[in-house]
C-alpha cells in the first residue's frame, strides 16, 4: 500500500518537515541553512514547499508562486523510504529516482539534519496507524 491521496502525503511527509522546523535542536540549524526547497511528488501528485528561512511549510494549493532555491522531484514512495532511512540519495540520483536542481550542495548539507528524524517519522506513522507504510 502507499499514500491514498495528496492529503495523505501532507499528513505523513508534510508533518515531518513541520516537526523538523519546530524542533528546538534541529529547527535553528534549518534556519541557519536558510534555503527553500520545493518537492514535487508523483504517485500521488502532491507538492510541498519548505522555506527554512521563515520556518514555513506549504502544501498543495497553498504553495507560493516564487522559485525555490532547490527543486526536487520523486515519487511519494521514495520520499517515504527516505524518511525511514532506507534511501541512499546518491544512488537514488544515479538511478534517476530523485531529480534535483538548483542549489544542490545546500540541500546536501541539510541531509545530516534529517537523520535524527528517521525514528520520529516512523513513530509518527505508527501513531497514525500507518504501519502499512513502514514496509516500503
Amino acid at each position: 500500500m502507499g499514500f491514498r491521496d495528496a492529503q495523505d502525503v501532507y499528513d505523513c511527509i508534510g508533518a515531518i518537515f513541520s516537526e523538523a522546523i519546530a524542533d528546538p535542536e534541529i529547527g535553528p540549524k534549518t534556519k541557519e541553512a536558510g534555503i527553500s526547497i520545493r518537492f514535487d511528488f508523483t504517485e500521488p501528485d502532491s507538492v510541498i514547499f519548505t522555506d527554512y528561512a521563515t520556518g514555513e511549510v506549504f502544501f498543495g494549493d497553498a504553495v507560493p508562486d516564487r522559485e525555490a532555491a532547490v527543486r526536487m522531484a520523486m515519487t511519494a514512495d521514495v520520499a517515504n523510504r527516505f524518511w525511514l532511512g532506507k534511501v541512499n540519495v546518491v544512488m537514488a540520483m544515479a538511478k534517476g529516482q530523485i531529480k534535483a536542481r538548483g542549489s544542490v550542495p545546500e540541500m546536501l548539507k541539510m541531509l545530516p539534519l534529517a537523520k535524527p528524524l528517521y525514528g520520529r517519522y516512523e513513530a509518527q506513522l505508527r501513531a497514525k496507524g500507518r504501519t502499512d507504510l513502514l514496509d516500503a
Binding site: 540520483m93 548539507k109 545530516p112
Partner: protein, 411 residues
Amino acid sequence: MTRPFDEIDVSTMAFWELSATERDARLAVLREKRPVSWQRPAEGMGSLPGSAGGGYWAVVRHADVVTVSRDPETYSSAQGYMIEDIPLEVLESAGSFLGMDHPRHTQLRRLVSVAFSPRRVRALEERIQARATMLVDDLLEQGEGDFVATLAKPLPSLTFGEMMGLGDGREHLVELADNMVSYNDPEFLQGRDGLTHLLETLVAIYGEAAALCELRRAEPGEDILSGMVTAEVDGERLTDEDIAAFLVLLSVAANDTTRQSISHGMRALCAFPDQRALLASDVEAHLPKAVEEIVRWATPVMTFRRTATRDAELGGMPVSAGDKVVMLYVSANRDESAFPDPWRFDITREPQHVGFGGGGPHFCLGASLARSMLRSVFRELVTRAPTLELGEPTFLVGNFIQGITKMPYRV
C-alpha cells in the same frame, strides 16, 4: 568550550596552494612547538548548518599519527574521514569501509582483502612488470611528452582495470576517479562548487556501478566485482549501494595514489642524482628501500580525519569526546625526529614512513600492490632511461591528494 585557533593556520586553501617546502616550513614550527594544535574549520566545501564554531586538532608528528592510527577505539573513522565538513551521507557513498569502524569495517574489508594479499600480488607481478616494460618502451620511443599521461597514470589504471574486470569501461571510470579528487582545484572547477562537482561525479560512478553489478550478476568472472556481487555479510548480500561505494573507494585509492608516487618518485630521483646513481649501481639490492623512500617522499594522501569517541590526551593536549582529529601524513613524513634531514631523499633510510597510513586497521589495503608497481616501474626507469629529465610539474590544488597533474619529460 571555545579554544583559540592556532596562529599557524593549516585550514586555508592558500596554505595548501603553497609549495611543499613552503608549507612544510610552517608545519615544522608546529612539529617543534605545538605538535597537536587546534585549527579552525578547513576551507573548501563550506560549513554544514549547525557546525559553526567547530574546529579540529591537527596532528603533525610521526609518533602521534601512529598513536591515532593504532587506536581506532578512541579515534573513530565512522564520523567523517576528510579534513573538510562533507555531509556524512556523501562520504558514506564515497568511502565504503574507509569510513567505518569494527565490526562492519572488518567484515567489508575482508571481502576484498584477499585480492590484495602479498600472495595474490606476487601472482600478478609478472604481468605488472610486463606492463611497466611496455609503458617504458612507449616513453622511450616518444622521446618526450607528459610523464603523467605516458607512464604514471596508465600503469595503476591498467592494473586496476584488470583486477576489477573493467575492460573497455576502465578509462571512463578512471577519469571519474580523477575528477573525484579535484574538488579543491580552482583550475579544474572553473568557478563551480566543489560539493556539486563531488556529487555529480559520485552520481556518475554510481550509475556505472549499478550497470556493472547487473552485468556481473548475469555473468560472474574472476574479478573483484564479481566476488562482491556474490558475497554475503551476516547472511545478507551486499546492495548495489555497498558495491558502488567500494568501487568509488577502490578507484580513487588504486589510481590516484600510485600515480602520484611514480611522478614524485621520478622527480626526486632527478633532483638527487647521487641517489639515482646509487639505485642504478645495484637495482635489486636498493629497490625495496628506495620504494619506501619514494612513498615517504610522495605522501600521496596528505590528510585523513578521525573523531574522538572519548576524552584522551594526545601530544600533551586534552582531546575531548566528539573532537575532530586530523592526521597530517604530509607533515609526519617530514618529521625530523623520525627522519633525520627529512628533505633529503635517501634510498638507504630505514622505512618507517606513514605514506600507507600509520598502521592499525585502516592501513593501506593496496600497499603490496603499490610496492609491486613501484618496483616494476622504477626498475625499468633506472636501468633503461638514465638520461630522462623532467620539466616543471603542474600541481593539483587541494588538502587531500598531493598530486601532479602534468609533468614534461625528455630522454
